[in-house]
């Protein structure tokens, strides 16, 4: 296992600078993704999952969002340092991303064919008949029925599931090495969701694609991911191979998250939920940001940031109680 990871993120910090306040959306995140691997990025809404993805793409909301520190090493190149022009040769070509809502991520006034064609035209200078053929191929790859007939369709003429397939086709058109999937199935019906996940898995196997799968659904994590990183308040609190995470969750936040997943075979009167709320996004917390909600905090938890504990088998957790 001497291969170097496809993507290695070290101490990434991406802040949102708004009038009078700084939101530390991504606050010292480190993780890595190997080729062909799926990393699950889980955590509740607003914990910085999506911002981490946008930081990797370097498409943070302008002008408030900025990467302030850290490294994003992709195939040996630190993306934080490259020029905007060079970054464009990565976006949509070597790294791509699927957004959450297929209803809003396609341009309503352009045909789906055109939207799938764009990355190939700009990155690979494909034109004319070749481009048309490649677009149909790309749509066929995401299993859109009769793709020749659909290239001229507008997004509103398609169902949500079909639209998300089109988004997938556009994102994967240039066969990137890494796909950031930001809750791609959250807006879809359960059955459509299952089909979409199966499709992603198929494509991943064929193309040896690495995926960062952002989700808050542990069912999807179990189904799709090789490893998991759990995020809380802009930080990663635990990373582990998927089995280890389910069998030995170590960080109290992970434990609480897993507890809040309802189980089919148990009857309960009340679903479990984590007490309290995540800290205000623009507040700097000296210690562990989960301490205020932790069921058994220690005195030092709110004073000093917790160390990263190596639990063996590439299982890490940031918690004082494991020290």
């Amino acid at each position: 296992m001497a291969e170097s990871p496809l993507l290695q993120i070290e101490d990434l910090r991406a802040y949102l600078f708004t009038r009078g306040s700084v939101v530390r959306a991504v606050d010292g995140v480190s993780f890595s993704v190997n080729e062909g691997e799926t990393l699950g990025l889980v955590g509740e809404s607003g914990c910085g999952k999506s911002m981490t993805c946008l930081a990797i793409m370097r498409t943070l909301p302008a002008p408030s969002g900025r990467i302030v520190a850290g490294r994003i090493r992709f195939q040996g190149v630190d993306l934080v340092g490259v020029s905007e022009a060079e970054m464009r040769t990565y976006r949509g070509r070597r790294i791509s991303m699927i957004l959450q809502d297929p209803n809003t991520s396609l341009n309503p006034v352009l045909t789906v064919g055109e939207q799938v064609a764009e990355p190939m035209r700009w990155h690979q200078q494909v034109q004319g008949k070749d481009l048309k053929r490649r677009v149909v191929e790309a749509l066929r790859r995401v299993k859109i029925p009769a793709p020749e007939m659909r290239v001229g369709d507008y997004p509103h003429q398609m169902s949500g599931g079909m639209r998300q397939r089109v988004v997938g086709a556009a994102a994967l058109a240039c066969e990137p090495h890494l796909l950031l999937a930001d809750e791609p199935t959250t807006a879809l019906d359960a059955t459509v969701q299952a089909q979409y996940l199966a499709l992603l898995k198929d494509i991943q196997e064929q193309a040896h694609l690495a995926i960062i799968f952002v989700t808050h659904d542990f069912g999807i994590v179990a189904h799709m991911c090789d490893r998991v990183a759990v995020m809380y308040a802009g930080k990663i609190v635990e990373t582990a191979p998927v089995k280890a995470l389910f069998h030995h969750p170590s960080h109290p936040y992970t434990v609480a998250l897993l507890n809040s997943v309802p189980k089919l075979r148990e009857r309960v009167d009340r679903l479990y939920s984590i007490e309290g709320e995540p800290p205000p996004v623009d507040q700097v917390i000296p210690g562990c940001s989960f301490a205020p909600r932790c069921p058994s905090p220690e005195e030092r938890c709110s004073r000093e940031p917790p160390p990263t504990m190596d639990l063996g088998d590439s299982h890490h957790a940031n918690c004082w109680k494991l020290a």
């Binding site: 498409t59 040769t89 949509g92 070509r93 809502d101 341009n107 507008y154 509103h156 003429q157």
Partner: protein, 310 residues
């Protein structure tokens, strides 16, 4: 779409009938045209005779009937003041207004598009502030005053351009600039484009276009601008109709032989046939431009073209 257009045309016809009745009645409330042009010491008999010559002694519904039956035969009547057929007058004047307004809109759009786009892209920056301040000024300065100021500086003081009237191509410059700068056009387009572009730039599909690695100019000109254009097209279309129908102020200030000035003169002279016809022509123009705007939407937004809200 055809059914829709047909329905709109029927609607337009009804509106024109209503407009014709109203303008016919209102014009007659202002008084009698003969009192404007006959000498004050005219004898009652002579006055009576003149009123009879114009047919104004007949019951108002008969007058309306004559007007409408003439209209249907393409006869708009004869101007009381100019002693010419109204249709000839309109045919002489309308092209002057249309060319002036088209030029004004072209100037306004050429200035407004870059300003609106820069203002949106550099939100809060000096260009944005400049664009917004000039929009505010353009909106709040009255047209007649703005026109007179331009005239004073460029025609009277500097002597670069003709003061008034339509004598050469250079005569177009000042009235066209006045309409473009102070007639709400530039200001409206800049503000609308800025707001609507800011909204679109914040959308997920613009984010996705960037994620695909498209150059920024493609993201803005192809993905964002077309979506941001819909309110702008509405505004320009409506305003085009309004300007065609009534650049009364500018045409009066610059003594421009257009339809707006004709309307102004007609009202001063209580020239009923001209008032009626000009208002009807104006109403027709406005209704038609609105229809064209609606059809244009379909080209800009396929969701409208295919009759679904998406």
């Amino acid at each position: 779409m055809q059914r829709y257009i047909l329905a709109r045309l029927v609607q337009a016809l009804v509106m024109l009938i209503v407009v014709s009745v109203i303008v016919f009645g209102v014009a007659r409330m202002t008084g009698n045209p003969v009192d404007v042009y006959l000498p004050v010491d005219v004898s009652p008999e002579q006055r009576e005779e003149e009123v009879h010559r114009l047919g104004l002694d007949r019951p108002i519904y008969v007058q309306y009937g004559i007007f409408v039956s003439g209209l249907l035969r393409g006869d708009l009547g004869e101007s009381v003041k100019f002693r010419k057929p109204v249709s000839t007058l309109i045919r002489e004047r309308l092209p002057n207004t249309a060319s002036l307004v088209l030029l004004a809109i072209a100037i306004a759009l050429v200035l407004a598009f870059p300003l609106g786009i820069i203002a949106a892209l550099r939100q809060g920056g000096p260009w944005d502030v400049a664009a917004r301040v000039s929009a505010l000024l353009g909106q709040s300065v009255p047209t007649f005053w703005g026109g007179i100021m331009l005239m004073l500086v460029f025609a009277v003081q500097l002597g670069w351009l003709p003061v008034a009237r339509k004598e050469s191509l250079a005569s177009y410059v000042l009235p066209a600039l006045t309409i473009a700068l102070f007639g709400f056009m530039l200001a409206g387009v800049v503000r609308l484009l800025r707001t609507s572009l800011l909204e679109v730039l914040d959308s997920e599909f613009v984010k996705f276009a960037r994620i695909k690695g498209l150059p920024e100019y493609v993201v803005i000109l192809k993905h964002a601008l077309r979506n941001a254009l819909i309110p702008v097209v509405t505004f320009v279309g409506m305003y085009f109709g309004i300007l065609l129908a009534g650049s009364v102020t500018v045409e009066t200030v610059f003594a421009w032989p257009g339809i707006g000035r004709l309307a102004y003169e007609a009202v001063r002279w209580r020239d009923y046939p001209v008032i009626q016809s000009v208002v009807l022509v104006a109403a027709t123009i406005i209704i038609m431009t609105n229809l064209v705007v609606d059809i244009l939407y379909g080209y800009l937004d396929p969701r409208i073209r295919y009759g679904r809200s998406g």
